[in-house]
Amino acid sequence: MPGTIQSIERAAAALRLLANTGRPLALAELAAALDLPRPTAHGILRTLREVGFVDQDAASSLYSVGAGLGSLSTPGWDRHDLRSRSMNWADALAGGTGCAVFVGVPDGRVVSLVHHVFRPDGSPQRLRTNETVPMHATALGKCLLAFAPLVTPAARDLDLQRYTGRTATTPASLESQLVVARRRGCATGFAEYTPGVGGAAVPLRGAGGLAVGALGISGPVEHLFGSGGVVRPRLVDQLTAAAGEISVTLGHS
């Protein structure tokens, strides 16, 4: 059996110390209490700060336990923080693609719509924020199934209801679509929930690369898909770029 990893033990000790002392601590105090040279202690604290487990006061340079530690037990981002951070890029994406834009997060067995930007074509549309859509029949849902497997149900546990002739209604057919989505980095939906409406979605990633939601575009299938039923690369490029920008604001490096 391999031995324990010393730097992780030291990091855990530093966190325990910060959590139990009840006041912010200086580097010298931490180094002394942990019996470490200051450069070593500094390296540990800097790393912990970068992952959000430790805060450092800008004025006093004192260290305390960071907000990231408290949110460890709560899965994902607050949905309204997510919307707020997505908003500018979602607008730009709608303007650039001519599609409606959605941000979705897993909510049990369905996708909850956190944000919605209208398709900029002057057509009457209704705001769908806080509505839910099925996982297996939408690009947003399949994106979450493919890229956030720990916080979404397994394909076999979903109610694979048929909405159109194109809906995947067996775990095997859904699984094969997820494999394709993982390979391409992008999930698609071709009139599987609403006739004539298609979508494409890519993951939004937070710190450490964890998928915390999905960013999707939606519109008439002929607008999204070219010959052979493949999403137009120009749209995927814009979608991926917007997701990358939003992910940066979510702490993904």
Partner: protein, 501 residues
């Protein structure tokens, strides 16, 4: 050949930004830099205009680099700015005589009280449309003339110039000491308490009352015309648009018809309604102001209602009460309860602004019972913004005779969908958010682009406005009436808290 774009500089209270817009009004790039806030004493807030100028000189090239464009791609430059911030400088050296006094600074309360005590209040109201207040630029200029060594003598000799922020930037951009254009635009000039709002010229009577030498003042120009050509930062590019930030948002939201209104939700909120070529007098505590003047076209007036605390109330809830970690999380907290539970918060932290104007009011929280939890407080915080907007809209409807039939919104708080729905519910009109929340910068770009023919007319700009979201009123009218009455009773309880000293 690369496409021609229009650049906008948004010189704001905390930062300066440069944005590039294409012909469809889409933002192509943005660069931003914050500047330092100086608080030399309580009630004083100053900016270093040299620092702001250096920021402009660094962000404009940065925005161009991001878009992969050069100055030759820029059709025109427009400026939108924080209003009422006041600076004086030496025309030969280009150096400011003091730091700029910003719009939040209240050091001119003595000057304003004296103007009113000397019986000038009515003169100002009738000529410039503004009752004397610490909010406006004229008293700040007077303070600088009285308190900065050499200012008055220099101004009288013609060596010292006055400007609001757009004036300073245009002067620097077009050459500074070496032939820079000393101009202001009609919207910024309308916030100085020195301009006759009907003739749109400096008023000798008001200048006499303020004791300001006219020769230090910039020429007043329209919002959309070529003021001059940049010699620095964007050499060869015409500076062709300037507006105060709130008027810029009115243009950016394409509120070109009488009765069209926009509200920008930030720290505070500013609601402006286009009242057409006729100036609407206000009997309900609103400010009649210039909307915009496009070149030689007839001037368009606006009514303005400002709400002191909207986003800042959420910040207080986050930073002082610590009930949420981030501002957007107030929506999460508010959604933990179905309604306000009978609790109301009136955020009269520094008195009540439009339309009530009660400086002696202070904030109250009423309707507290054991039932109330932090979710209800979160609701009450958001609802305060809704009801304050309703009061301004009611006053606008009464003063303009043009009922608001829909409200265009922009600013950071439009990310809060619960608030936007509540707004539609209490106003009983649809609330709409445009694609791209950069109405202020877009308005400056539009003014500049119109002046050089980059856009041919207002209809082209209207076609650029796309609805990104809309909230329809859905509140039961009986409930709306009852909640409105409750809000009114809560506001009554905030009055007369500060005792006269």
């Amino acid at each position: 050949m690369s496409e021609r774009v229009v650049a906008a500089i948004d010189q704001g209270t905390t930062s300066t930004r440069c944005l590039l817009f294409n012909r469809a009004g889409r933002m192509l790039a943005v660069a931003q830099r914050e500047h330092r806030q100086h608080y030399p004493r309580p009630g004083r807030v100053e900016h270093d205009v040299e620092e702001i100028w250096r920021n402009v000189a660094s962000i404009v090239p940065a925005a161009l680099r991001r878009a992969g464009l050069g100055p030759e791609n820029i059709a025109a430059l427009g400026i939108a700015n924080q209003r009422e911030t006041t600076v004086i400088w030496n025309r030969h050296t280009g150096l400011p005589l003091a730091r700029a006094i910003t719009w939040q600074d209240t050091r001119t309360d003595g000057i304003v009280a004296r103007l009113t005590a000397e019986g000038h209040g009515e003169l100002f109201s009738s000529v410039c449309g503004l009752a004397p207040a610490t909010y406006f630029a004229g008293p700040r200029l007077r303070w600088l003339l009285d308190n900065v060594a050499g200012a008055r003598a220099g101004a009288e000799r013609g060596d010292v110039l006055f400007g609001t922020m757009e004036t300073w930037l245009i002067w620097r951009l077009t050459g500074g000491p070496d032939g820079g254009m000393h101009v202001t635009d009609v919207t910024n000039a309308s916030r100085t308490m020195m301009m006759d709002i009907r003739s749109r010229e400096w008023s000798p009577k008001l200048l006499a009352a303020l004791d300001v030498p006219e020769r230090m003042l910039p020429r007043i120009r329209s919002n959309s015309e070529v003021y001059g050509t940049c010699t620095a930062v964007l050499p060869g590019v015409p500076v062709a648009g300037a507006l105060g930030d709130q008027q810029a948002a009115l243009v950016g939201q394409t509120c070109f018809a009488p009765g069209e209104a926009k509200c920008t939700y930030g720290t505070g909120a500013f609601l402006l309604m286009n009242t057409g070529t006729r100036m609407a007098g206000s009997t309900h505590g609103l400010i009649p102001t210039m909307g915009y003047v496009l070149g030689d076209e007839a001037p368009v007036y606006a009514l303005e209602g400002s709400i002191a605390m909207t986003g800042s109330l959420v910040q207080w809830f986050r930073d002082s009460l610590g009930l949420i970690e981030t501002a957007p999380q107030i929506e999460t907290l508010a959604l933990t309860v179905p309604d306000n539970g009978g609790c109301y918060i009136v955020p009269a932290f520094s008195g009540l602004y439009a339309p009530r104007w009660h400086p002696d009011a202070r904030g109250v929280m009423v309707g507290l019972t054991s039932y109330i939890d932090k979710g209800h407080l979160a609701r009450a915080v958001l609802e305060a913004t809704g009801w304050q907007t309703r009061e301004v809209v009611d006053a606008m409807n009464a003063d303009s005779g043009l009922p608001v039939t829909r409200l265009k919104v922009d600013g950071g708080m439009t990310a809060n969908h619960l608030l936007m729905q509540f707004l539609a519910d209490v106003l009983d009109v649809p609330v709409e958010r445009p694609l791209g929340s950069e109405a202020v910068s877009l308005g400056a770009a539009y003014a500049a682009g119109l002046a050089v023919g980059h856009w041919s007319n207002l209809e082209t700009l209207r076609a650029n406005w796309h609805r990104a979201a809309a909230w329809e009123p859905a509140m039961d009218p009986v409930l709306r009436r009852r909640e409105h009455a409750n809000w009114g009773r809560a506001v009554d309880r905030s009055y007369d808290w500060v005792e006269p000293s």
